[in-house]
Symmetry: C2
C-alpha cells in the first residue's frame, strides 16, 4: 500500500473537516466556537460492537450515530466530532475510503463536521479495527436532559420500536430466520440506527430523565432507576413493536419469554425517558412535531431497579441485563 498517513488524512478526511476551527486537519488541535457544549464519547471495536464483515461505510455511520444518539437523549443538537481510528495491519486505502464515504453521507444528513482526530495502524496481526469518536453539541435552550432526575409517579416512555436491532443481529448470525423484506428491515435497524435528534430536542424541559437504549430496554431503564434512586416498572404488553417484530413474536411458543428477549436486546438507540403525568400532552405534541412514534410503557415507582411486568402483573425475568464487557 503506497498511501501514506498524511495522504490519507489530506485526501479522505480533510474534505470532511469543519470550515472554521478544524484548520483543514493541518493542526494538532481544533478551536471550538465559544458556547456551552454537551459532549460524549463512544468506542466501537470490530468483533465486539460490530461484525468484522459489516460494510465499512455503515460501520462509520453507526459509529457516528451511536454518539449522536447519546446527544439526542440529552436534548442536544450535534455540532461536530473528533475521530480516532486504529486500523488493522492489513487495511487498504479502498477500505478507509469507503469508511470516509459513510462519514460524508451522515455529515450531510446531520449537518455536522469533523474537527480533528488521529489515524493510526495496529502492528499486531489480528488486532481489530478500533474506533473512538467524541461528539459535541449545543444543549437545548431548556438545558441538558440528565440521566438522573426520574421522580416517583413519572411516566416512562420510549420512542420508535424495541427489539428490532437484536432481531437483526440474530438474523445476521443465523440464529433467527426472516422472510426477505422483514430481514432487510431488521438488519437495517441493527446496522444503521436513527438518532432521535428532533424528538430529543423537543423533550428538553419536559423529560425528567433520559437515556438512549444501547444496552437493552430493561438494562437502560435500570441505569435511570439507579442514578435516580427509584424503581421502574415496564409493562411488557405495551412495548412498541415493528410489524417484523410482531410477526416474530407471533411465531414464538412462549409469548412472555419472547417479550423478555425483546426487552433484553440492545442497540435500538431509541430514547427511553421519564416525564411527569402533567406533561402527557406535551410529549404527544413533541412526537407529532418531530414525526417520531412515542409509547408510554411504564411508571417510576418506589424501590430500586427496573422490572418487566406481564399482563398478569407478575414480573417477567429478563436475561442479559445489558452488555457488560468486563463480566465473567
Amino acid at each position: 500500500m503506497a498511501a501514506g498517513e498524511f495522504d490519507i488524512i489530506r485526501s479522505l478526511f480533510a474534505p470532511l473537516a469543519a470550515e472554521k476551527g478544524a484548520f483543514a486537519l493541518d493542526d494538532d488541535a481544533a478551536l471550538l466556537p465559544a458556547a456551552e457544549y454537551v459532549a460524549t464519547k463512544d468506542m466501537m471495536i470490530a468483533g465486539v460492537h460490530f461484525r468484522p464483515d459489516d460494510p465499512l461505510d455503515l460501520v462509520a455511520r453507526k459509529l457516528l450515530r451511536v454518539n449522536l444518539s447519546d446527544l439526542a437523549a440529552k436534548g442536544a443538537r450535534p455540532v461536530g466530532y473528533f475521530l480516532a481510528c486504529a486500523w488493522p495491519k492489513t487495511a487498504t486505502r479502498a477500505q478507509i475510503a469507503r469508511f470516509a464515504q459513510g462519514l460524508a453521507a451522515d455529515q450531510a444528513q446531520f449537518r455536522i463536521a469533523l474537527y480533528g482526530g488521529d489515524t493510526t495502524k495496529h502492528r499486531a496481526a489480528g488486532a481489530p479495527l478500533t474506533l473512538s469518536l467524541t461528539a459535541f453539541g449545543a444543549p437545548a435552550r431548556m438545558g441538558m436532559i440528565a440521566r438522573k432526575g426520574a421522580q416517583i409517579g413519572d411516566d416512562i416512555y420510549v420512542t420508535g420500536t424495541i427489539g428490532d436491532a437484536g432481531l437483526g443481529l440474530a438474523a445476521l448470525e443465523k440464529r433467527e430466520t426472516f422472510a426477505k423484506p422483514a430481514r432487510d428491515y431488521l438488519v437495517g435497524r441493527y446496522r444503521l440506527p436513527e438518532p432521535r435528534l428532533v424528538m430529543g430536542g423537543a423533550l428538553a424541559g419536559h423529560a425528567s430523565a433520559a437515556i438512549d437504549v444501547s444496552d437493552g430496554l430493561i438494562a437502560d431503564a435500570g441505569h435511570i432507576a439507579a442514578v435516580g434512586g427509584v424503581g421502574i416498572e415496564i409493562e411488557a404488553e405495551r412495548l412498541p413493536l415493528s410489524p417484523a417484530a410482531k410477526d416474530w413474536l407471533e411465531r414464538q411458543p412462549a409469548r412472555e419469554e419472547a417479550l423478555a428477549r425483546l426487552a433484553g436486546f440492545g442497540d435500538d438507540y431509541e430514547i427511553l425517558f421519564a416525564a411527569p403525568p402533567n406533561r402527557r400532552r406535551s410529549i404527544d405534541m413533541a412526537g407529532k412535531v418531530s414525526k417520531t412514534a412515542v409509547a408510554r410503557i411504564g411508571q417510576v415507582v418506589k424501590g430500586a431497579g427496573a422490572r418487566l411486568i406481564g399482563a398478569d402483573g407478575d414480573e417477567i425475568p429478563v436475561e442479559s441485563p445489558g452488555f457488560d464487557h468486563f463480566a465473567g
Copy 2:
C-alpha cells in the same frame, strides 16, 4: 475476574471525574462550561506507541501528556478530557487500577479532570490495549497558536532538549547502552514527557506558528513549513542536548550522522515554534518566567520543507522523517 464494567467505572474512574459537568460518570454525556475551547485527540496503541511491558501508570500519564503537549503547543490551558480504553481480553482489575492511579497523579499535577468516556474490552485474543484521549482547554487570551503562520525571516526555536526520548527508547530496546543515571534519565524522558504548558501560554501572541515535537524535530518542522508555504533550516550544531545525549554524541564515530539521528527521533514533546526576530527578548523572557530552556536553532526561509544544516552549511540528510503509520 469478577469486577464488572460498571464497578470498574464507579470505583476506579468516577473518583477522577470533574465535580461539575461530568455527573460522576453516571450519564452518557458531559456538560462543558460555556467557553471557547481548544481540543485535541491522540490515540496510543500497545506495541505501536508504547511498549506492552511499560508500567500502566506511566502509560496513562504519557497518554494524558501527549495530549496536554498538543494543547501546550497551542498556548492553551488544559481543563479536562474524555477517555476511551479498549483493554486486552486478559486485562485484570489490578492493571486497570494502576492505570487509573497514573491518571489521578497527573490530574492533580495539571489540575484537570475526567469528563467522560468509554471502557470496553477486546474479544480477539492478542488485540492490544488501545487508548484514545480527547483533551480540551482554554485558549490563551492572545488566541490559539496555529501550526500555520510561519513567515520568511522568522526565527525557529525549540524548548528543552532534543533526542532524549529516542535514546531512551533505544536503551529500552537494547539498541544502545548507557550507564545507570543517564539511562534512567533517557528512559524517563521517553516514558514521561513534560508538556510545556506554562511556556506555551507565554508564547501566545509572540509565536507565529508552533507544533509539539512528536514525529521528530525535522519532520515536525516540515509540518510547519508545509502548511506555511515556507522552508525551514535548522542548524545541527545548535540542537539543545542533555548531558546524557551530549555524552552519547561524543561516543559516535560520525558526528553529523549522529546529530541527524537525534533530529529524526520522535517523542520529545518539546515545543517547536517560529517567531519574528523582534520577539527575541519576549521569547527569552517567556523561557525565564516559565523556567523552560529555549534555544534558537534556525530560520524560516523561502522554499519548501525542513532541512538540517551542518557546520559547513551543507544539508545533513535525516532519516525517518516522522513516523508514518501507513507507509510501506
